[in-house]
């Protein structure tokens, strides 16, 4: 019997799960290998769990989410989170650095009807996650690689190095060094194929910080003076889809394996 696949949504824009439907050329091959049992963007027909593989999109922002993610974990053999919301809290994690009750009071006529948490948090903060696929949105080729690897029983080839690796392999001229364009590529997780620099734009950090040496974070502080941006611009460029992860990243690296004597 084919393994079953389920797709779940939490606080998110649906863009990452739609990446699955965007796999037009490979969709039939995928449907031949797995039974897509739960994917509301594609079909209202829901197959019964438990499921062999769950793709989870979105972050945890409400008390109801807290219960539902535990249920998803309980009915999933393998749980893979997809996208910046699920892996880092998403752009909605801007609330983590503000007062969400104040937002609610300004936006809603009856804020007391709004049940929301003070912070937007990644899935891995609540349940064990088997694999995290980064990006806003995730990359189609990487999603297929993760699913192909899972079906074959091998490790997915999803490197954690910087965007610069992909950029140089592609033969791009560095937009930062040659044009003076601010670029987060040196501290951003690869995966997009260095799309923005290939078209003369700086990297926006959609795939979150890289690398992470055994839990330490990239040296974002050392890059900032070279971006030629004001303090306000710098704060804003780090406050997008992976805001919570990049804010963490501004903490200096630990001593690692070779602490000074």
């Amino acid at each position: 019997m084919a393994p079953t696949l389920a797709v779940w949504k939490f606080a998110s824009c649906d863009g990452c799960q739609l990446t699955l439907l965007d796999c037009e050329d490979e969709l039939l091959a995928l449907a031949g290998r797995v039974e897509i049992a739960h994917f509301l963007e594609a079909s209202g027909a829901v197959g019964e769990g438990p499921y062999d593989v769950s793709l989870v999109e979105g972050s945890i922002t409400t008390p109801a989410d807290l219960d539902r993610i535990r249920h998803v974990r309980a009915v999933s053999r393998t749980l893979i989170t997809i996208g910046a919301c699920a892996t880092a809290g998403g752009v909605q994690a801007l609330r983590n650095f503000a007062d969400v009750r104040e937002f609610a009071s300004v936006v809603y006529a009856r804020p007391e009807y709004i049940a929301t948490l003070a912070e937007s948090t990644p899935i891995a903060a609540h349940v064990p996650v088997d694999f995290e696929l980064h990006g806003c949105p995730i990359d189609r080729r990487q999603l297929l690689e993760v699913l192909s690897a899972h079906l074959t029983g091998r490790r997915p080839d999803v490197p954690a190095h910087s965007v610069c690796f992909e950029c140089k392999s592609r033969g791009n001229v560095c937009v930062m060094v040659a044009h003076g364009t601010p670029c987060l590529g040196p501290v951003t997780h690869a995966g997009c194929g260095a799309i923005c620099p290939a078209y003369g734009r700086g990297c926006y950090g959609c795939f979150g910080p890289s690398p992470a040496w055994d839990g330490a974070r990239p040296n974002t502080r050392a890059l900032l003076p070279w971006l030629d941006m004001t303090e306000d611009e710098t704060r804003r460029v780090l406050s997008t889809f992976n805001v919570a992860a990049f804010r963490e990243a501004a903490v200096p690296e630990g001593p690692g394996d070779d602490a000074p004597a």
Binding site: G171, V177, D257, D258, A261
Partner: protein, 369 residues
């Protein structure tokens, strides 16, 4: 051997194309002088120069029409010989097993036009690493063995160049088929061509070029000699191998680790860095598999990753590994330095870490009581 004079590179392009060669050389693209396939001499960066600094590169207009008055650009010749991605083989499932296919198309017959002396040495170093031991890299060897090298001696070193310190330039050493020196008269270029090999002689013989006048040959030599005095950088320390071996506990590594992003740019622009990783992929059906060789870097988090974790898990240990291998243990492994003084790691480091300044600081620390 007698030197020739070329007043125009058009006939050289015609001869190389006529011989079925793919000509690769410098040209202006995306705000830089890159190396790319050229269709004619008009593609050369006539009248363009560069301004270099740590972490900075800008094109500038020159007042003349020189085609080779610029120093090392963003790439070396590495992407053409030691490609970033090489498919090693693929396999398809059959009824009772699998079938492996290793067919690869014949590599292009390259003519590399405008190889700088530093890059000429870098190619020789990669030859040693990828073809000179017991195991040959077949992709590299296939591209390298058919390649014709037309070097251009340096008359205009850049602000980040230090080939003189590394003994690689500005005069091209052995390994070229033809070496050109660009002379400018009233802003227009002509070239003194020297022959390095029979293959080079055969190309020049087809051009019907005149013998160079002795005075021009002397002038070409003098201009290259003068360039040696205008290096933008100097690599200190008479014996870098000893300095590296004695500096493993230096406090400078902590200092550079505060600045290094571990982004890997230095290793990818370096013309001698050669590390690769191998990855296996399968498709959704599970009936087709491929094995790829990809550029790797000692700054990649997966590099040195063993069971239990990475051997080098800090920026400090990563940078130290790169520098001490490049300048020190490379001698033990391959019998030469791994650095040719091209200065690319200085220019293309997004935060301007300068290899000569780091070695200076290590030397100063070693000298202090």
């Amino acid at each position: 051997m007698k030197a020739m004079e070329l007043t125009d590179l058009g006939p050289l392009f015609e001869a190389l194309h006529g011989a079925g060669r793919t000509v690769v050389g410098p040209t202006v693209r995306d705000g830089a002088i890159v190396l790319a396939e050229l269709s004619s001499a008009d593609d050369l960066p006539h009248g363009w120069g560069v301004e270099l600094e740590p972490g900075g590169y800008r094109l500038r207009r020159r007042s003349d029409r020189a085609a080779f008055a610029h120093s090392a650009g963003p790439q070396s010749w590495k992407p053409f010989l030691h490609r970033p991605r090489v498919k090693l083989w693929e396999a398809d499932r059959t009824g009772d097993g699998f079938q492996i296919a290793t067919d690869s198309p014949d590599p292009p017959r390259y003519a590399f036009l405008g190889v700088r002396p530093c890059d000429l040495r870098a190619i020789a170093i990669q030859d040693r690493v990828l073809m000179g031991g017991r195991h040959t890299d077949p992709s590299y060897a296939g591209r390298r063995e058919g390649a014709l090298i037309i070097a251009v001696n340096c008359t205009e070193p850049g602000e980040t160049c230090f080939c003189v310190s590394m003994g690689t330039g500005p005069q091209a050493g052995p390994g070229y088929d033809i070496a050109l020196t660009e002379l400018l008269d009233d802003g227009d270029p002509r070239y003194i061509a020297e022959i390095g090999t029979e293959a080079g002689a055969a190309v020049l013989a087809d051009l019907d070029a005149a013998a160079a006048r002795p005075a021009d040959v002397d002038r070409a030599r003098a201009e290259v000699t003068a360039a040696a005095g205008r290096m933008g950088r100097e690599m200190p320390a008479p014996d870098l191998r000893d300095l590296m071996a004695g500096s493993l506990g230096s406090a400078r590594w902590d200092d550079v680790a505060q600045r290094c992003l571990t982004c890997g740019n230095c290793t990818m622009v370096c013309p001698t860095c050669f590390c690769t990783r191998v990855t296996d992929t399968t498709d959704l059906t599970g009936d087709h598999a491929e094995r790829w060789q990809l550029w790797d870097s000692c700054f990649d988090p997966d590099y040195s990753l063993l069971h239990g974790g990475a051997v080098r898990s800090s920026a400090k240990s990563r940078y130290r590994q790169w520098l001490t291998h490049k300048l020190g243990t490379w001698h033990d492994q391959f019998g030469s330095s791994g650095c040719v003084g091209c200065g690319r790691c200085i220019v293309w480091c997004p935060v301007g870490i300068d290899i000569t300044a780091e070695v200076d600081a290590l030397q100063a620390e070693a000298d202090s009581p």
